[in-house]
Protein backbone atom coordinates (compact mmCIF):
# COMPACT_ATOMS: atom_id res chain seq x y z
CA UNK A 1 0.00 0.00 0.00
CA UNK A 2 2.82 2.42 0.87
CA UNK A 3 4.61 1.73 -2.41
CA UNK A 4 1.28 2.23 -4.19
CA UNK A 5 1.16 5.72 -2.76
CA UNK A 6 4.52 6.53 -4.34
CA UNK A 7 3.14 6.14 -7.87
CA UNK A 8 0.68 8.86 -9.04
CA UNK A 9 -1.35 6.55 -11.31
CA UNK A 10 -1.74 3.89 -8.64
CA UNK A 11 -2.56 6.64 -6.15
CA UNK A 12 -5.48 7.70 -8.36
CA UNK A 13 -6.79 4.13 -8.26
CA UNK A 14 -6.36 3.75 -4.49
CA UNK A 15 -7.73 7.17 -3.63
CA UNK A 16 -10.78 6.58 -5.86
CA UNK A 17 -12.22 4.39 -3.11
CA UNK A 18 -10.25 5.75 -0.14
CA UNK A 19 -11.65 9.28 -0.64
CA UNK A 20 -15.37 8.37 -0.42
CA UNK A 21 -14.71 6.08 2.56
CA UNK A 22 -12.77 8.82 4.39
CA UNK A 23 -15.43 11.42 3.54
CA UNK A 24 -18.24 9.20 4.85
CA UNK A 25 -16.36 8.50 8.10
CA UNK A 26 -15.66 12.24 8.45
CA UNK A 27 -19.39 13.04 8.19
CA UNK A 28 -20.26 10.40 10.81
CA UNK A 29 -17.53 11.49 13.26
CA UNK A 30 -18.42 15.17 12.81
CA UNK A 31 -22.13 14.54 13.45
CA UNK A 32 -21.37 12.62 16.68
CA UNK A 33 -18.71 15.10 17.79
CA UNK A 34 -20.79 18.24 17.24
CA UNK A 35 -23.84 16.97 19.13
CA UNK A 36 -21.70 15.57 21.96
CA UNK A 37 -19.62 18.78 22.31
CA UNK A 38 -22.46 21.29 22.13
CA UNK A 39 -25.31 19.44 23.82
CA UNK A 40 -24.02 16.66 26.12
CA UNK A 41 -20.56 17.74 27.30
CA UNK A 42 -20.72 19.57 30.64
CA UNK A 43 -19.93 23.27 30.98
CA UNK A 44 -16.65 23.99 32.77
CA UNK A 45 -17.06 24.93 36.42
CA UNK A 46 -14.75 27.96 35.96
CA UNK A 47 -15.21 28.90 32.32
CA UNK A 48 -18.88 28.02 31.91
CA UNK A 49 -20.16 27.49 28.38
CA UNK A 50 -17.11 29.18 26.78
CA UNK A 51 -15.26 25.88 27.32
CA UNK A 52 -17.24 24.52 24.33
CA UNK A 53 -14.83 26.47 22.13
CA UNK A 54 -12.16 23.95 23.20
CA UNK A 55 -13.82 21.22 21.07
CA UNK A 56 -12.95 23.09 17.86
CA UNK A 57 -9.90 25.05 19.02
CA UNK A 58 -7.78 22.08 20.13
CA UNK A 59 -8.48 19.86 17.05
CA UNK A 60 -7.64 22.79 14.74
CA UNK A 61 -4.31 23.15 16.58
CA UNK A 62 -3.63 19.42 16.10
CA UNK A 63 -4.29 19.72 12.36
CA UNK A 64 -2.23 22.94 12.13
CA UNK A 65 0.81 21.10 13.51
CA UNK A 66 -0.04 17.74 11.90
CA UNK A 67 -0.40 19.20 8.39
CA UNK A 68 2.99 20.86 8.67
CA UNK A 69 4.52 17.59 9.86
CA UNK A 70 2.89 15.86 6.88
CA UNK A 71 4.35 18.49 4.55
CA UNK A 72 7.79 17.93 6.08
CA UNK A 73 7.53 14.14 5.54
CA UNK A 74 6.37 14.70 1.94
CA UNK A 75 9.18 17.20 1.32
CA UNK A 76 11.78 14.84 2.77
CA UNK A 77 10.58 11.89 0.66
CA UNK A 78 10.72 14.15 -2.40
CA UNK A 79 14.24 15.40 -1.65
CA UNK A 80 15.68 12.01 -0.66
CA UNK A 81 13.89 9.54 -2.96
CA UNK A 82 12.46 11.93 -5.57
CA UNK A 83 8.88 10.82 -4.86
CA UNK A 84 6.63 13.11 -6.93
CA UNK A 85 3.71 12.26 -4.63
CA UNK A 86 5.64 13.62 -1.66
CA UNK A 87 5.97 16.94 -3.46
CA UNK A 88 2.29 16.87 -4.49
CA UNK A 89 1.18 16.09 -0.91
CA UNK A 90 3.32 18.89 0.54
CA UNK A 91 2.02 21.39 -2.01
CA UNK A 92 -1.68 20.68 -1.47
CA UNK A 93 -1.41 20.42 2.33
CA UNK A 94 -0.05 23.98 2.61
CA UNK A 95 -3.28 25.96 2.02
CA UNK A 96 -5.31 23.43 4.04
CA UNK A 97 -2.85 23.62 6.95
CA UNK A 98 -2.82 27.42 6.73
CA UNK A 99 -6.63 27.50 6.95
CA UNK A 100 -6.64 25.28 10.07
CA UNK A 101 -3.86 27.40 11.63
CA UNK A 102 -5.94 30.53 11.00
CA UNK A 103 -8.92 28.77 12.63
CA UNK A 104 -6.75 27.80 15.60
CA UNK A 105 -5.62 31.42 16.07
CA UNK A 106 -9.11 32.87 15.54
CA UNK A 107 -10.97 30.45 17.82
CA UNK A 108 -8.25 30.84 20.46
CA UNK A 109 -8.61 34.59 20.27
CA UNK A 110 -12.41 34.38 20.63
CA UNK A 111 -11.94 32.02 23.60
CA UNK A 112 -9.29 34.27 25.15
CA UNK A 113 -11.50 37.35 25.30
CA UNK A 114 -13.99 36.06 27.93
CA UNK A 115 -11.53 33.79 29.80
CA UNK A 116 -8.24 35.72 29.77
CA UNK A 117 -9.74 39.17 29.21
CA UNK A 118 -7.76 39.73 26.01
CA UNK A 119 -8.02 38.82 22.34
CA UNK A 120 -4.27 38.49 21.95
CA UNK A 121 -1.11 38.25 24.02
CA UNK A 122 2.49 37.83 22.84
CA UNK A 123 2.67 34.55 24.74
CA UNK A 124 5.10 31.82 23.63
CA UNK A 125 2.41 29.46 22.37
CA UNK A 126 0.40 32.13 20.55
CA UNK A 127 3.49 33.64 18.96
CA UNK A 128 4.94 30.30 17.81
CA UNK A 129 1.61 29.32 16.21
CA UNK A 130 1.52 32.72 14.47
CA UNK A 131 5.02 31.94 13.16
CA UNK A 132 3.65 28.59 11.88
CA UNK A 133 0.93 30.51 10.01
CA UNK A 134 3.56 32.73 8.38
CA UNK A 135 5.63 29.64 7.46
CA UNK A 136 2.62 28.27 5.57
CA UNK A 137 2.15 31.62 3.80
CA UNK A 138 5.86 31.84 2.98
CA UNK A 139 5.83 28.30 1.55
CA UNK A 140 2.84 29.11 -0.67
CA UNK A 141 4.34 32.45 -1.75
CA UNK A 142 7.60 30.72 -2.72
CA UNK A 143 5.76 28.07 -4.74
CA UNK A 144 3.64 30.62 -6.59
CA UNK A 145 6.60 32.93 -7.23
CA UNK A 146 8.63 30.19 -8.93
CA UNK A 147 7.43 28.37 -12.04
CA UNK A 148 6.34 24.77 -11.50
CA UNK A 149 9.68 23.08 -12.03
CA UNK A 150 11.66 20.56 -10.03
CA UNK A 151 13.76 23.53 -8.90
CA UNK A 152 10.71 25.22 -7.36
CA UNK A 153 9.69 21.95 -5.68
CA UNK A 154 13.19 21.52 -4.23
CA UNK A 155 13.36 25.11 -2.94
CA UNK A 156 9.92 24.76 -1.33
CA UNK A 157 10.86 21.40 0.23
CA UNK A 158 14.01 22.89 1.76
CA UNK A 159 12.06 25.86 3.15
CA UNK A 160 9.51 23.47 4.63
CA UNK A 161 12.20 21.34 6.30
CA UNK A 162 13.98 24.38 7.76
CA UNK A 163 10.63 25.49 9.22
CA UNK A 164 10.15 22.21 11.12
CA UNK A 165 12.36 23.69 13.86
CA UNK A 166 9.20 25.57 14.86
CA UNK A 167 7.23 22.36 15.58
CA UNK A 168 9.06 21.40 18.83
CA UNK A 169 9.06 25.10 19.77
CA UNK A 170 5.24 25.08 19.58
CA UNK A 171 5.08 21.87 21.59
CA UNK A 172 7.38 23.06 24.41
CA UNK A 173 6.46 26.78 24.31
CA UNK A 174 4.05 26.31 27.21
CA UNK A 175 6.87 24.84 29.33
CA UNK A 176 9.56 27.36 28.39
CA UNK A 177 7.52 30.55 28.63
CA UNK A 178 5.05 30.31 31.44
CA UNK A 179 2.66 33.10 30.56
CA UNK A 180 -0.99 32.83 29.55
CA UNK A 181 -1.62 29.69 27.53
CA UNK A 182 -2.27 26.62 29.66
CA UNK A 183 0.07 23.62 29.62
CA UNK A 184 -0.54 20.38 27.74
CA UNK A 185 -3.52 18.54 29.21
CA UNK A 186 -3.89 15.56 26.84
CA UNK A 187 -0.45 14.23 25.86
CA UNK A 188 1.41 14.66 29.12
CA UNK A 189 3.18 12.62 31.75
CA UNK A 190 0.65 10.88 33.97
CA UNK A 191 -2.05 10.80 31.28
CA UNK A 192 -4.68 13.36 30.34
CA UNK A 193 -5.74 15.79 33.09
CA UNK A 194 -8.99 16.58 31.31
CA UNK A 195 -12.12 14.94 32.74
CA UNK A 196 -13.41 12.03 30.59
CA UNK A 197 -16.76 13.83 30.13
CA UNK A 198 -14.86 16.47 28.14
CA UNK A 199 -11.93 14.36 26.93
CA UNK A 200 -14.09 11.87 25.02
CA UNK A 201 -16.04 14.39 22.90
CA UNK A 202 -12.76 16.25 22.30
CA UNK A 203 -11.14 13.06 20.96
CA UNK A 204 -14.16 12.44 18.69
CA UNK A 205 -13.80 16.00 17.33
CA UNK A 206 -10.06 15.37 16.90
CA UNK A 207 -10.79 12.24 14.83
CA UNK A 208 -13.43 14.18 12.85
CA UNK A 209 -10.95 16.96 12.05
CA UNK A 210 -8.29 14.41 11.08
CA UNK A 211 -10.73 12.67 8.71
CA UNK A 212 -11.82 16.00 7.21
CA UNK A 213 -8.16 16.91 6.70
CA UNK A 214 -7.41 13.50 5.15
CA UNK A 215 -10.36 13.74 2.75
CA UNK A 216 -9.43 17.31 1.73
CA UNK A 217 -5.82 16.25 1.15
CA UNK A 218 -6.75 13.17 -0.92
CA UNK A 219 -9.14 15.21 -3.08
CA UNK A 220 -6.59 18.00 -3.56
CA UNK A 221 -3.83 15.49 -4.45
CA UNK A 222 -6.07 13.94 -7.11
CA UNK A 223 -6.74 17.40 -8.58
CA UNK A 224 -3.01 18.20 -8.56
CA UNK A 225 -2.19 14.93 -10.38
CA UNK A 226 -4.77 15.76 -13.06
CA UNK A 227 -3.37 19.28 -13.31
CA UNK A 228 0.21 18.02 -13.77
CA UNK A 229 -0.89 15.43 -16.37
CA UNK A 230 -2.71 18.16 -18.33
CA UNK A 231 0.27 20.52 -18.05
CA UNK A 232 2.55 17.72 -19.31
CA UNK A 233 0.35 17.21 -22.41
CA UNK A 234 0.43 20.96 -23.12
CA UNK A 235 4.20 21.05 -22.68
CA UNK A 236 4.61 18.16 -25.15
CA UNK A 237 2.34 19.92 -27.66
CA UNK A 238 4.36 23.12 -27.36
CA UNK A 239 7.65 21.30 -27.85
Amino acid sequence: MISGFANPQRFLGLSAWLLPVTSLLAVVATAIGVVWSLWYAPADYQQGETARIMFIHVPSAWIAVGAYTGMAIGSLSYLVWGHALGDIAAKVMAPIGAAFTALCLATGSIWGRPTWGTWWEWDGRLTSVLVLFFLYLGYMALRSALEETSKASKAAAILCLVGTINIPIIRFSVEWWNTLHQKASIIREGGPSLDPSMLHPLLVMGVAYLLIFAALTLAAMRAEIWKRSADAILARQAA
Binding site: Y40, I56, W111
Partner: protein
Protein backbone atom coordinates in the same frame (compact mmCIF):
# COMPACT_ATOMS: atom_id res chain seq x y z
CA UNK B 1 -24.79 11.39 29.05
CA UNK B 2 -27.38 13.96 30.00
CA UNK B 3 -28.40 16.97 27.91
CA UNK B 4 -26.88 20.13 29.38
CA UNK B 5 -29.65 22.47 28.30
CA UNK B 6 -33.28 22.45 29.43
CA UNK B 7 -34.57 24.19 26.32
CA UNK B 8 -33.52 25.43 22.91
CA UNK B 9 -33.49 29.03 24.16
CA UNK B 10 -31.11 27.96 26.98
CA UNK B 11 -28.87 26.40 24.34
CA UNK B 12 -28.97 29.51 22.14
CA UNK B 13 -28.12 31.73 25.12
CA UNK B 14 -24.99 29.61 25.92
CA UNK B 15 -24.91 30.95 29.48
CA UNK B 16 -24.52 34.49 28.15
CA UNK B 17 -21.55 33.60 25.93
CA UNK B 18 -23.48 32.92 22.71
CA UNK B 19 -21.53 35.39 20.52
CA UNK B 20 -18.22 33.80 21.56
CA UNK B 21 -19.26 30.13 21.37
CA UNK B 22 -21.34 30.38 18.18
CA UNK B 23 -18.92 32.89 16.66
CA UNK B 24 -16.02 30.44 17.01
CA UNK B 25 -18.10 27.44 15.88
CA UNK B 26 -19.71 29.35 13.00
CA UNK B 27 -16.35 30.56 11.74
CA UNK B 28 -14.95 27.01 11.84
CA UNK B 29 -17.94 25.60 9.93
CA UNK B 30 -17.66 28.39 7.31
CA UNK B 31 -13.92 27.88 6.73
CA UNK B 32 -14.21 24.07 6.51
CA UNK B 33 -17.14 24.29 4.07
CA UNK B 34 -15.08 26.79 2.06
CA UNK B 35 -12.18 24.29 1.89
CA UNK B 36 -14.53 21.53 0.73
CA UNK B 37 -16.18 23.67 -1.97
CA UNK B 38 -12.77 24.90 -3.17
CA UNK B 39 -11.35 21.39 -3.62
CA UNK B 40 -14.50 20.10 -5.36
CA UNK B 41 -14.53 22.99 -7.88
CA UNK B 42 -10.78 22.79 -8.47
CA UNK B 43 -10.89 18.99 -8.87
CA UNK B 44 -13.77 19.04 -11.37
CA UNK B 45 -12.04 21.74 -13.38
CA UNK B 46 -8.70 19.90 -13.59
CA UNK B 47 -10.36 16.56 -14.39
CA UNK B 48 -12.40 18.11 -17.23
CA UNK B 49 -9.34 19.99 -18.53
CA UNK B 50 -7.29 16.79 -18.67
CA UNK B 51 -10.13 14.85 -20.33
CA UNK B 52 -10.51 17.59 -22.98
CA UNK B 53 -6.78 17.58 -23.72
CA UNK B 54 -6.72 13.79 -23.98
CA UNK B 55 -9.67 13.61 -26.39
CA UNK B 56 -8.20 16.45 -28.44
CA UNK B 57 -4.93 14.52 -28.69
CA UNK B 58 -6.75 11.31 -29.69
CA UNK B 59 -8.64 13.12 -32.51
CA UNK B 60 -5.61 14.75 -34.09
CA UNK B 61 -2.61 12.41 -33.65
CA UNK B 62 0.08 14.45 -35.44
CA UNK B 63 -0.84 17.89 -36.67
Amino acid sequence: MTPQFASLSDFLAMGGYAPFVFGAWGLSVAVIIGLIVRVIIHGRYQKARLAALRSEKAESPTP
